[in-house]
């Protein structure tokens, strides 16, 4: 409004300076302004202020909204899924207030499985969560529906909702997104992922090649061998190393065969007749050939065990080799069943049993795991390979002798603990109130079953000094378990 601009310009200059001419005013306002100008009793400041006040009110009374009828329509698509219940929405509010990501993930998972959506008003909070935590993005995208997608198009920070086809992301995405999409495809169609990478391989730079190769660790198989073997001739040292790392995980690769060839000579099962042929004396001979191909040591096998090691250098080399060949190798080498193989090592070369366990994990030889079940050493990698009941049983075996380590390993479990193991773990934790604090319980709530609520009161620390901190932790745990219970109930899970 020009008259108001005139007021502002005059105010900036000050009435002491020559004033700009009078503003254009409609007749009825101009009459009042002229009357002010002609008042003899007013000084020039008073005249300015009164006219300015007049124009101020004229401006206020005359406001007209900006007219814009041609703005494009931008309306969210209707939802195809139903919204979650009010009860579930309330639980989500409580979880968000509590800032507990483990419970949020549980809620989102159940909501997604129920084919439902979160209510619209919570979408901005969820989108901000997903903005900060990539791992929550797929679930939040699923539970946000069309409204969430629509909202994300208005806010560039939430562009992770974009649903470009995988192949487009692979062709045009940034390095992180490309690696992510390759991982996704590798999970569902390993061969397709391999082909994608082969197609663009020549255009990738060295750092990109290394990162993308790492993705092939998922679902690696002998089908990858020809191409991976060819990469050993690559120029880039890091690319070659990464290819070699992958080859070490695939049975039948040249490097694994090289290790096997060496082990054929270095580790043998000796069966000798004793007691006049009435008994068989069994032993495992471990001895490297007089000359070992130096290329073995260039492939990552260390020569020296280190000063603090309990095995000698030779034993350590064999340990590394054993951890790098598929367990099935020993079936042939010893002409024995898996159970017998584990038994032989347990009995005659116990220092190498750990290497065998590592090989079981490395080559996904899950059928071998039960034969390690009653062995003295806990193998952390096994816990997520076992069915829940067996896993808890396995963990229980080590609780008496090594509770601190066992609980730490149990915290890596992917599935909820059983009640009995939870009780045992909590009994251990109450004795270390400063090691297992509120934050830890917040994170481990995903592992603690709701059923433990009935037992919590009976868990008491032996040391009275630990009572007060445990009480605080317990109350917090009860609160979180309450939310977990409500979440499960809200989705009838």
């Amino acid at each position: 409004m020009k008259a108001w601009e005139h007021v502002i310009n005059a105010a900036m200059l000050g009435t002491d300076k020559p004033m700009p001419g009078n503003a254009d005013l409609p007749e009825e306002i101009a009459i009042v302004a002229n009357a002010i100008d002609s008042a003899d009793t007013l000084d020039k400041e008073a005249k300015y202020l009164q006219k300015a006040a007049l124009i101020y009110n004229y401006r206020q009374c005359g406001f007209t909204p900006l007219q814009k009828q041609d703005l494009p329509q931008n309306i969210a698509q209707p939802e195809t899924k139903s919204y979650c219940t009010e009860t579930a929405a309330r639980v989500l509010d409580a979880i968000l207030d509590e800032s507990n990501d483990a419970l949020l993930e549980l809620w989102l998972n159940l909501c997604h499985k129920a084919g439902q959506l979160s209510l619209p008003d919570v979408l901005p909070v969820l989108s901000e969560k997903a903005e900060k935590d990539k791992s929550l993005r797929p679930l939040i995208t699923e539970c946000s529906g069309n409204r969430g997608l629509w909202l994300s198009k208005l806010n560039p920070a939430w562009d992770y909702f974009s649903v470009l086809p995988d192949e487009d992301i692979w062709q045009t995405g940034n390095p992180a997104d490309r690696a992510e999409v390759l991982r996704k495809v590798r999970q569902s169609d390993p061969q397709k992922a391999l082909e994608w990478l082969q197609q663009t391989w020549e255009q990738e730079n060295a750092a990109g090649k290394v990162e993308l190769l790492k993705v092939l660790k998922t679902n690696s198989s002998p089908a990858d061998l020809p191409w991976l073997e060819s990469l050993l001739a690559e120029k880039g040292q890091k690319v070659k190393e990464e290819a070699l790392t992958l080859l070490k995980h695939i049975p039948g690769s040249s490097i694994v065969k090289q290790y096997e060839d060496l082990l054929v000579k270095a580790v043998t099962l000796k069966k000798e007749k004793a007691m006049l042929g009435m008994m068989t004396k069994i032993s495992i001979r471990q001895e490297l050939p007089a000359t070992v191909d130096e290329s073995i040591f260039k492939s990552g096998i260390e020569k020296l065990a280190g000063q603090k090691s309990s095995v000698n250098d030779e034993g350590y080399i064999i340990y590394q080799l054993m951890a790098s060949v598929p367990p099935s190798f020993w079936e042939k080498q010893f002409d024995a069943t898996p159970e017998q193989v584990v038994g032989y090592f347990e009995k005659y070369a116990v220092s190498q049993i750990g290497a065998l366990a590592k090989a079981v994990i490395r080559f996904n030889a899950d059928s071998w795991i039960p034969y390690f079940f009653y062995k003295a050493e806990i193998h952390p990698e096994f816990v997520n390979k076992l069915p829940v009941q067996q896993r808890d049983k396995y963990l229980f075996m080590f609780m008496d002798n090594d509770a601190p380590n066992t609980v730490q390993i149990a915290l890596r479990c992917r599935q909820e603990w059983g009640i009995e193991f939870t009780k045992a773990a909590l009994v251990h934790m109450v004795a270390y109130p400063y090691q297992y604090n509120r934050g830890d319980f917040g994170r481990m709530i995903r592992l603690i079953p709701v059923g433990i609520l009935d037992h919590l009161e009976r868990i008491v620390p032996k040391d009275l000094n630990h009572q007060a901190p445990w009480d605080k932790n317990k109350n917090y745990l009860i609160k979180l378990l309450g939310l977990k219970q409500q979440t499960l109930q809200a989705f009838n899970a």
Partner: protein, 435 residues
């Protein structure tokens, strides 16, 4: 009583109380519980040997609890209300125990006494003398203020950003000495101008001219109509006797609490509650001043419907009011809400209000068919005719508003002036939601 969870949370004094209240909203925490048309009560097992006795007066939403908490309402009161909202079927007992009926009857006796309380005899001569002395003080202060304002416009406002805090504070203190607290506040508001903002000159001049209008008008009070006189006196800082106000017949209606805002002002929390009268189509602002460590008498939250009688402060544009009495009632259907059809109608109403009171504060409006839109990298509210008013840049819940709207038009309450407004709440699926 029909409070939603959002409304109950809005009663909480802070975030911690909200969380704690939520934790107590489970049946296991309550040893006994009951409800009737007057009260809601329960005994909550806390850390002490005896359970805490928690009670809520449902007719006017007041709380009492035997816990030692200084917060008001305490977590027990909130937890009990939440539990009742979530699982009303658990509250089967309708017979008030003695500790509840005693409190409820004391409250109603107190109300009656307040009404009956005879006014103390007033020494009219002394009162007139005090009044005269004050008016002299105010006149003296205003004369100085006008000189100060003229000095500002004489020198030009370009140097205002360089003025130190003392420049504003000295004049504000002078106004306090002159017993013109309202003017002191207006001077302090000038100092809060964001001089870093482009276009600060316009908002600064708005405030300076309002101050000038009030100060200058006081010098011509006798020639101004009585209602506007009251507005000028109120703006300067003269108070209105609220007891006298309560004696007047008020406006009885079903009022919807459309918004609530709190700000801290020198040891006081000033709580603003905006109300809308469904049948009379009137708006009201109910202020509550809460000294630190004390409790407010009113416990209102947006979305609450009250059957209440409100007494407006005398004004050319009646807006500020006090609640004489109220009962919380069931929500009213959106169809019963009268609303402005668009910005043109709002502008018409604004012009009418400004013509009556040029230095008025911002007021709320219920406007139908508004949709939030983005235009030229700013957020706007567009009416059904295509008219746009800007959403105040300081408004923080734009994404929540967008999420609820999904690009569709909503009936909305907004507060602001001219072409800049901020949303207070929306009707979403027939429920009013503060936003």
């Amino acid at each position: 009583m029909q409070l939603t969870e959002d409304q109950i949370y809005a009663l909480a004094p802070d975030e911690a109380s909200k969380k704690a209240g939520r934790d107590l909203a489970g049946p296991a925490k309550w040893v006994t519980k009951g409800i009737n048309e007057l009260a809601l009560w329960g005994e909550c097992q806390g850390s002490g040997s005896k359970p805490y006795q928690t009670q809520v007066d449902l007719t006017s939403i007041a709380f009492k609890c035997s816990c030692p908490s200084r917060k008001f309402p305490c977590k027990h009161g909130l937890g009990l209300l939440l539990l009742c909202a979530r699982q009303p079927a658990l509250f089967t007992n309708g017979d008030m125990p003695a500790w509840v009926s005693d409190w409820i009857s004391k409250r109603s006796e107190k109300e009656e006494k307040k009404v009956e309380k005879a006014e103390k005899p007033v020494d009219e001569n002394a009162q007139a003398k005090r009044q005269q002395a004050r008016e002299q003080k105010v006149s003296g202060g205003i004369a100085e203020l006008l000189v100060w304002i003229k000095d500002i416009v004489r020198g030009g406002i370009l140097t205002m950003p360089e003025k130190g805090a003392n420049f504003w504070e000295n004049m504000a203190r002078r106004m306090v000495d002159a017993q013109a607290g309202g003017l002191a506040g207006m001077v302090r508001a000038l100092a809060t101008t964001n001089f870093w903002n482009e276009g600060w000159q316009s908002s600064f001049m708005d405030k300076l001219l309002q101050l000038y209008l009030v100060a200058e008008s006081y010098q011509h009070l006798a020639n101004i109509n009585p209602l506007l006189q009251q507005d000028i006196r109120t703006a300067i800082g003269f108070t209105t006797n609220q007891e006298e106000l309560k004696q007047q017949t008020g406006v009885t209606d079903t009022w919807l609490v459309i918004g609530k805002d709190s700000r801290d002002e020198q040891q006081l929390t000033v709580e603003q509650n905006w109300l809308y009268g469904i049948k009379t189509n009137q708006y009201a602002l109910v202020l509550q001043f809460i000294a630190r460590g004390q409790f407010g008498q009113l416990a209102l939250s947006p979305g609450m419907y009250l059957d209440a009688e409100l007494a407006y402060f005398p004004s050319a544009v009646p807006f500020r009011a006090i609640i004489k009495n109220y009962n919380a009632v069931r929500p009213v259907d959106l169809a019963a809400i009268q609303s402005y059809s668009g910005w043109q109608q709002v502008a018409g109403q604004e012009s009418d209000l400004n013509s009556r009171l040029p230095f008025r504060s911002e007021m709320p409006f219920v406007v139908a068919g508004l949709k939030p839109v983005q235009y030229q990298k700013q957020w706007w509210l567009q009416d059904q005719e295509g008219g746009l008013c800007r959403i105040a840049p300081a408004y923080q819940n734009i994404w929540q508003l967008m999420a609820i709207s999904g690009g569709e038009a909503l009936t909305m309450t907004v507060i602001g002036k001219e072409n800049e407004f901020r949303p207070l709440g929306v009707w979403h699926q027939n429920n009013y939601k503060a936003i």
